[in-house]
Amino acid sequence: MLLQVLLTGVLIGSVYSLVAVGLTLVWGLMDIINFAHGEFLMISMYTTFWLYALLKFDPLVSLPIAVGVVALVGVLTYKLVVKRVANAPGLMALLATFGLSLFIRNLAQFLWSPNYRFVSESLLTDKRFIIGDLIIGLPQLVAAVGSFAMTLIIALLIKKTKTGRAIQATAQSKDIAELMGVNTERIYAITFAISGACVGVAGALLANTFPVYPESGAMYGLLAFVIVALGGFGNIWGAFYAGILIGLAETLGGFYLGTQFKYAIAFLIYLLVLQFRPKGLFGW
């Protein structure tokens, strides 16, 4: 039974990680908290749902479309909103993205009502492996593997490609990056696109198993803040391990103490770990 709980924790944790990776990129690069990140996830889930409901696309088929849509939303968010507040003092950028999250969430409610919607029959629905006592749902497994693959791609992209190195340089010093010929404007926009692509993948994969409704991204967004801080701001692998840890904390806590405490346990883990690592697990 313990093994089953641990496995469930790792599987959901992997998705948490990917959502957090998207957030940590922007946060590490621009020192901006994107409060609308959870809403980006919700957009991806709705995109997947509507492609399924109207055009009978399987979520796995709509995944690239959802990625494109949310990446575009990310770029627009940067160009129209974040760019204007990026250099403002204090927490003004937070104010702007919080307003944006309210707007997007309630726009979804206005357009599509607060009802729960489900992708009821997809390629993966109800498929599962049974190994001994272990039950592994295929949708969960695909979500976890897909999320890990995307995290890996992003990490390689940041580390190996020219654009990735430009992102790293801009994160270290915007001015010096500019002197070296980096178009930082473009880098910011690209980073927002990548960030959107991360939740695009996560949302499409989650739509297989989770209900889609205007608030469906909110809890993921909140957990992502904690995961990003737990991993150390701007640290992709930090966010990855922290996501797994929070997933485990949530399922273990939910199993042994009752599901009503599962998020409380996750937040508690953050407070405890930060006592020993005040800048996150992998912060410096």
Partner: protein, 323 residues
């Protein structure tokens, strides 16, 4: 000179609901007083001391629950509950902040958010205080002792005004005192403040204590005004964020910021709710969100920044330059 502006604000606020007796307007004024005061309280720890709190709803909720539970279970006057709630909030704030003050910047901010969420979850599953169902405050006849007035909103307004006055004056005297300068020194550079012989942890704790106790007072008033509380309402991230937003909007780190911010944001949110909220389709919050984005985009230095730009000799109120 500065004093005159402040007293002018007090006088204007005090006169308005008597001049305009519309009930909706009086409601907006009460909400304005509650949230301006919350912003002032929050400003002490975040604006002055630079320790961003995303979890002030925790103290607001503790204030609301302390007085409500005492009245609901034992018939204790909410006034007693209000003071007790402030005390409990102060104690809890010290207990949770003491370890959290090891953390800096965003790490601290996320920790406050985590603490508030944990406290919310505890109240949701705490049967003694009715858990997620929440508590309806038993209605009694109009009475000052029971802090319930059903005939008119004016008594609530006056209590709100008294708290507002008290809290602004407390914030102001902190700002002018040695402690205010210490806090600002800590905000600008923790290390430099420490090197000058200031004990940052002591002053941060003191500021947090005062801030959370004042926040709790308003929780009681809110509960008595709405006459119903549940954990999702009083401990919500929305409340924490509303406090942050209006203070940021007005301008961080001085006592006028939250007043100006609340004067813009609260009528905006209350009136959009009154006029557009009934549909249940979220139009009100949609427009409210869009307006916040617009204000942030076109006035990114806060309203205070706008006012300062209009000539005037400027003090270094929040001279934090961006890197």
């Amino acid at each position: 000179m500065k004093n005159r502006a402040l007293y002018l604000i007090f006088a204007a606020v005090l006169v308005l609901p008597f001049a305009i007796t519309n009930v909706n307007f009086q409601h907006v004024m009460i909400m304005f007083l509650i949230f301006a005061s919350l912003g002032e309280s929050w400003n002490i720890i975040t604006g002055f001391a630079g320790q961003t709190s995303f979890g002030h709803a925790a103290f607001f909720g503790i204030g609301a629950y302390t007085s409500t539970v005492l009245f609901y279970k034992f018939g204790v006057s909410p006034w007693v509950g209000m003071l007790l709630g402030a005390g409990i909030a102060a104690v809890i704030s010290v207990i949770v902040s003491y370890p959290c003050f090891r953390l800096r910047g965003h790490y601290f901010a996320i920790a406050t958010l985590a603490v508030a969420e944990i406290i919310k979850q505890l109240f949701v599953s705490w049967d003694y205080v009715e858990g997620a169902t929440g508590i309806s405050i038993p209605v009694v006849e109009d009475s000052f002792i029971a802090m319930q007035f059903h005939g008119s909103k004016i008594p609530y307004f006056l209590i709100g005004f008294a708290l507002f006055f008290l809290i602004v004056m407390v914030a102001r005297s902190i700002e002018k005192s040695k402690m205010g300068f210490y806090l600002k020194a800590i905000r600008e550079s923790h290390e430099a403040a420490e090197a000058l012989g200031i004990n940052p942890r002591k002053y941060k704790l003191l500021a947090m204590m005062i801030s959370s106790a004042l926040t709790a007072l308003l929780g009681t008033l809110y509960a008595q005004y709405i006459l119903y509380i549940d954990p999702f309402m009083v401990f919500s991230l929305e409340i924490s964020m509303k406090i942050v937003l209006l203070s940021v909007l007005g301008g961080l780190g001085n006592i006028y910021g939250p007043i100006i911010g609340a004067a813009i944001l609260i009528p905006l949110s209350e009136y959009t709710r009154v006029f557009l909220g009934g549909t249940g389709k979220g139009i009100d919050l949609m427009i409210y969100g869009a307006l916040i984005v617009l204000i942030a985009c076109f006035e990114p230095r806060g309203i205070i920044g706008l006012l300062k730009k209009r000539g005037k000799k400027r003090g270094a109120l929040y001279a934090k330059t961006n890197a």
